[in-house]
Symmetry: C2
Subunit: 113 residues, 2 copies
């Protein structure tokens, strides 16, 4: 099956193109302490992280909701690998679209989960 | 009536102290195109602006909701003057608390209302 066919069948998660990433959606995606912490951890990673490896004490369905919110806003990229999804920050896209935003958000010390 | 008495009677709107302003709440407050535009206009003002002078084509109750969301997050300050509320951006508080955030948000060209 090609990637296009997989997408058509809804098996590949949707990601907005860089030009489609909108500021209100990004700010909304970042407006939750857990989602901020996900972004903070991904920012420290050199490689994509499996979606189950964040260690928060919240339900899987809530985590899925957080990942979807971040992905649909264009903040993260998720790719299926077998039975898991590998997650990475769209740092380059965000920096190109909203210069300085992610640095300002990540340098804030006021987030605790 | 003193300001303290007015506050006790709930007549003065609540504003968080600078130290109480939290990043998720600020990002949420900024995650709406109309609220972003309010902040953008206030940022260009030299003096507080009457809350009725924004000229959006949306209902008064929706505007009130937007102002309350911004105020409770610590993004704007509102003070009653007679029958109106004067509104100003808490630029100094936000810059002290989250350096660079407001500049990054306001420099984005992707907001349209």
């Amino acid at each position: 099956m090609t990637v296009v066919q997989a997408k058509l069948m809804g098996m590949e998660p949707h990601h907005p193109e860089r030009s489609e990433i909108e500021l209100p959606a990004v700010l909304h995606a970042l407006s939750d302490p857990h989602r901020l912490e996900i972004v903070r951890r991904l920012n420290e990673d050199d490689e994509p992280r499996p979606c189950g490896k964040f260690g928060f004490d919240i339900s899987k369905s809530t985590m899925t909701h957080h990942f979807r919110t971040l992905r649909e806003a264009g903040v993260i990229r998720q790719e299926r690998q077998g039975t898991t999804k590998m997650t990475e920050l769209r740092r380059e896209d965000l920096d190109a679209r909203f210069p300085g935003l992610l640095d300002a958000v990540l340098s804030s010390k006021t987030v605790h989960v």
